[in-house]
């Protein structure tokens, strides 16, 4: 089996390095960073932290070097999905392409370029320490499910390979439940941290701000319900759980880290996605729209 990870940042690297442990899987990585690609080709792709692994991965910045692959795993930041899949689509004419990205709308973007798409949501996290070396912060499960006409069998094959490689994964008929649970969690907490500068725990201990978070969650739940999506867990419980001192009280949301570094955020695919799906299904989402607009304003301020 040949698998290509498209976008070999922190999350992509977790998949690539773990899958490369399997004898029956050949792993390729497509990434825009030349130093990262060169380091992977010279020394292998190294993970440390929650697991210590070195994977033999063939990496390239040139999509034309990619051979035909059975599976793609797209792990770019959401705003780069379109460009990344447009470049790599020829490698997947006979294969399936899965997304493990944040947010809403990635499957639709992939489906504009390739015919067989797999929906995915993943919880492990890490960060790039230096080219070729990723720190694995958090272990976690991945859920895959068919998108469009994709049958379940190839979804099972991909989930099985990931699980055997050390990245536990499930194949389910409808993966929208975990996806929307994660999106609602992220959309209701990440931008609040980004706009205020507060960590997750400090957001949750302010009653007026926690009420705003619940207002955002309620809108997301209504949009999910209007599509017949059954969430696999209540985002409210996850939010309260994460606020505990021993879990993620002091965690700065990735969007806050983006804002502090003046990097474009994923707001269009989180709150922006909830607003878009809400419009399609006639569900009003005024708070998500307000938060989306404010973060877009933050990004606009960097251009001044």
């Amino acid at each position: 089996m040949r698998i290509c990870v498209v976008g070999c940042g922190a999350v992509g690297s977790l998949f690539a390095a773990n899958l490369a442990q399997l004898d029956d899987v050949e792993v390729w990585a497509y990434d825009a960073s030349q130093p990262h690609v060169d380091a992977i080709n010279a020394n292998g792709l190294r993970l440390s932290g929650a697991g210590d692994v070195v994977g033999r991965v063939r990496a390239t910045t040139d999509a034309q070097e990619l051979p035909q692959c059975d599976f793609g795993i797209v792990a770019t930041k959401t705003m780069h999905t379109d460009a990344a899949i447009a470049a790599t689509a020829p490698a997947f004419t006979g294969g399936y392409v899965a997304t493990v990205q944040n947010g809403l709308g990635n499957e639709e973007t992939l489906a504009r370029h390739v015919t067989r798409v797999i929906r995915g949501t993943t919880f492990p996290a890490g960060k790039i320490v230096e080219p070729g070396h990723v720190q694995w912060d958090v272990k976690g499960d991945t859920t895959f499910g068919p998108f469009g006409d994709t049958p379940l069998e190839p979804v099972r094959q991909l989930a099985d390979a990931c699980t055997r490689g050390g990245m536990p994964a499930h194949a389910v008929e409808d993966a929208r439940g975990p996806q929307w649970r994660k999106v609602i969690f992220n959309a209701s907490t990440n931008p609040i941290g980004a706009l205020t500068g507060l960590t997750h725990g400090r957001v949750c201990e302010r009653p007026d701000l926690r009420a705003l978070v619940s207002g955002l969650v309620d809108e997301g739940k209504a949009v999910a319900a209007a599509q017949g999506i059954v969430l696999d867990a209540d985002p409210e419980d996850l939010i309260d759980h994460a606020a505990k001192p021993e879990v993620a009280y002091g965690h700065k949301a990735s969007m806050l880290q983006d804002v502090e570094a003046r990097r474009q955020t994923e707001i269009d695919y989180l709150n922006g996605g909830i607003v878009r799906f809400g419009r399609e299904h006639g569900v009003p989402t005024p708070l998500n729209e307000a938060i989306w607009a404010l973060v877009k304003g933050v990004e606009a301020a960097w251009q001044q």
Partner: protein
Amino acid sequence: MTNVVVAGAGTIGSLLAGYLARVADVSVLTRREDHARALNEQGLCVSGRGDFTSQVSASTDPSELDADLVIVACKGNDLEPLAQRLSGHFAGATVMTVLNGLGAEDVVGAHGDWPLLSSVTFMSGTRHSDTHVEYILDTATWIGPYRDTTRGDAQRVADLIVESGLNAEAFDDLRPAQWSKLIFNATVNSVAALTGLPHDAHFAGAPLGPLVHALVDEGKETAAAAGVQLGEDPWEMNVLATQRGHAHRPSMLEDVEAKRPTEVELITGALVREATRTGVPVPLHRALYALVKAKEASYS
């Protein structure tokens, strides 16, 4: 000649003191000794739309100052302590507040039985130092009676301000203007503070126009429920302000950038409290109120 005491010499107080000193005896009540000393020694320099230096006297002790008119022009968070310092002084003077938000008159009025005038100002400037203020936007100050005063009293102060070279207008009832400005400020200041944007075209178009419009609508509903007929339409004020070519930096934006407490309590807080009192749901203003207060909390 009229004796005017300006209490609180931030940007607006400095502009009023600098201009009024050309037509009245102006003294400034400051909080800091070094501020008073600098004003006494160097005067108050006005640049921008003006280019002159005024002689003013200044003191931290209200008993040293004489007034027919006291203008209270501090930031909202400084109002209560400043009003306490005025207590027992300036018998016979009329006191005029020039603050954002709602309720400054009552805070001051609780500390003495002076006749009170209300005002709101739309002028703006930048305070470069204790003794130098730049006059930027020459928009008007609106004045109206509040307690034991008449339209005529408001007119006399407006005339004095106009004679000094600034713009002012008197009204029978200031609430329409005050509420228009309240809604405008609650909307524009908090959005600017949260995004880091000056008040520019983003507020009238993409991506913030629809949010700004929705915030203004919540404010209008609250005003209607409180029985106030608005003066200018706050949305039109917003659009006009973004078309001036000069993007104003709202004070709340400057406050969060300097990690200072903002006036959100007095502005958005006042609007939300009125909405609560009158039973108007204002979910967007509540959201921004919570966000700005949280941003203040993030300083520490």
